[in-house]
Symmetry: C2
Subunit: 151 residues, 2 copies
Amino acid sequence: MFDMEPEALERFTWYMREISAMTIMFHTKIAEQMGVSATDEKCIDLIMRADGPVTAGRIAELSGLSTGAVTGVIDRLERAGFVRRVRDPHDRRKVLVEVTVGDVEKFGQLFEVARQSLIEVLSHFDEGELQVIERYLQVQIETFRKRVIDT
Amino acid sequence: MFDMEPEALERFTWYMREISAMTIMFHTKIAEQMGVSATDEKCIDLIMRADGPVTAGRIAELSGLSTGAVTGVIDRLERAGFVRRVRDPHDRRKVLVEVTVGDVEKFGQLFEVARQSLIEVLSHFDEGELQVIERYLQVQIETFRKRVIDT
DNA sequence: GTCGAACATCTTAGCCGCTAAGACAATTCC
DNA sequence: GGAATTGTCTTAGCGGCTAAGATGTTCGAC
């Protein structure tokens, strides 16, 4: 079905593993810089990546935490000024969690460094190569979501 | 210095963020499947990615945990049969931690799924495209290690 | 060789976040 | 309107983490 030298596959496996570990470290550093726990940072990332406000319960589902734990997460993030609780006017049981607008700077430094690093990486490639890379990233997201995450 | 449409950069940023979140989820699932905590899985990943045996203290450095916490990590991983403590014959203060050989299967399923997924992803590309992708991964690792991790 | 300083790991006390179970409040269904 | 359901919060109990100190080992000066 797909013939690739075993050594090549092994190299790619190593790249994935290395990037994977760097990703974990990156999130650890972001959390440190924001002055919150890794769990809290994971949740705020969930909230930011969602489109539109998210309920507390949805955060529990997405993060795998209990609802009780999510209450604590939101308490801490709210106290630190990263998010805000808003009662859903259509269903007043629900608590919508919104990222507070002006405080995107608090994520600041390291996100900016990451953005600059991405630009630096991409600057090594011409138009046609970037198209290949973009397709690669799209296929990777699609494949891993289907086969690894949604199971 | 490097001109790229802002929308393209935004798309790539989104890809990175998405992959980043999937990576976190992946490690969470691996840990679950292994029946250990995320911290423990992070440590065993460190040990496996290192070449040669690693000391307890080195694990503390690399993971950012206190030495006391690492003692607990190794206790649990040893009890679960993933690693083994070996006294360094040259310096008997040190404790070398080795991954137990026959138990690689315990990581099993999900690693295998990930490996198969990687093969599936790569099968979408021809020889020349794979070279571009490989270069991209190398540059990414190098750049992010330099600018994000080692700071 | 001996002694003290430095080093590597382990132990312990105290703290904090997580889970599970149930309380409370709002909504939906009959 | 009343019962069942839903969404969040509260609480008790547990387990992992940090910081500090204990224990065992090595290194260096003499």
